[in-house]
Symmetry: C2
Subunit: 188 residues, 2 copies
DNA sequence: CGCTGCCTTGATGCTGATCAAAATTAGTGG
DNA sequence: CCACTAATTTTGATCAGCATCAAGGCAGCG
């Protein structure tokens, strides 16, 4: 039997830091956690937004090489890595989660390699729509403009300008506090 | 006992295509294979350069979603995925390989998010140096300028100009047919 | 020796970063 | 509920860096 511990964290609370010992695997039960790296020059690269049912990292021992921080209120479940690895159900789950992360990373690489800022941001919205949003078509954006910028490799000003333009052109419509809907083709 | 099949491919030969059925896992024994995606507009995004001891993909069933092509003469070993997955030694190896790919993808994301072309290309050379090169300090570049461009998200002209500049400034020195050595700081 | 593919170099223009400031939103306490 | 402050977002003006278009050079191979 795996000993799982559960905890709830408020929005914008660190989950762990780079350099922390990786003793436990962490699953997000509710909410969204961002995984990121920090650089000497102060830049922050957001690597992934992790949501319900997904594992935060795949470091089974040694030190963590990245940061994790809640961007909404989150509920987390931790389990000791060594125990999880030897449990067949957990092992299968870990396997599947690693494949999911590989797919998301590939998509992220593709996003970042896009030539224009509009293409990158459009792809970002599609990704978020696929992963974090309601099936009705609304896009939930729990993250700030700065966080979007740090994921897409753009500046906050460029992100803001594109949102403004798309909303002016009615390609993107506000449907709630943090929700939007795509009405037309964005990339243009 | 896992039934492994071995084959040798010439430089610039396709290993598999997107859409192919993923029945086998493929390990590179010798040489370098590039893994990439193609887009409607003709762009090619190179996702990884896979070298000796590494697995090409982690798709255990269904259709492959990317292409693989030898960029040097390569020796490959294939094994049926289902058999490999149930073999404990292979399972452990697959696990470790997935973690390696995750790390490389993260590094690739970091590279692509770099602001300047010089920073991207410098990071690329460091990565290649770490992964494909001799321990003496020489950097082996088995790939073409176009392939470097398609990995770093730059154009071939920009890549060429940076190489020229660095060589003019003696930061980078040619030590062989396809080998270079870094003499100073590149990023500048 | 000439052809083909790859690489280099040059000139120009556009896109998005940067700097700066205004506008809006969120947060706090009375 | 409102006033006040802080944080976030938006908008504007300017400019550098890289993509693009266009030639020319060079190596490999018949």
């Amino acid at each position: 039997m795996i000993q799982e511990t559960r905890r709830t964290l408020a929005s914008h609370t660190p989950v762990y830091f780079a350099g922390d010992r990786a003793t436990d695997l962490v699953r997000v039960e509710r909410g969204v956690v961002m995984v990121f790296n920090l650089f000497e020059d102060g830049r922050r690269q957001i690597v992934d937004f992790v949501t319900a049912g997904e594992l935060l990292h795949f470091q089974f021992d040694g030190e963590l090489d990245h940061y994790a921080e809640a961007i909404t209120e989150v509920e987390l479940v931790s389990a000791p890595s060594d125990a999880a690895l030897s449990d067949p159900v957990w092992a299968e789950y870990i396997f599947q989660q690693m494949r999911g992360r590989l797919d998301r990373d590939r998509r992220h690489v593709t996003l970042l390699a896009q030539k224009s800022a509009a293409e990158r941001l459009a792809e970002f919205l599609i990704i978020v729509s696929d992963r974090l949003s309601t099936p009705i078509g609304d896009i939930e954006l729990p993250m700030t403009r700065q966080e979007i910028a740090d994921y897409t490799g753009l500046t906050i000003e460029t992100v803001s300008r594109l949102f403004s333009r798309w909303m002016r052109e009615r390609r993107l419509v506000v449907t709630g506090k943090r929700t939007y809907r795509i009405e037309g083709a964005l990339a243009a």
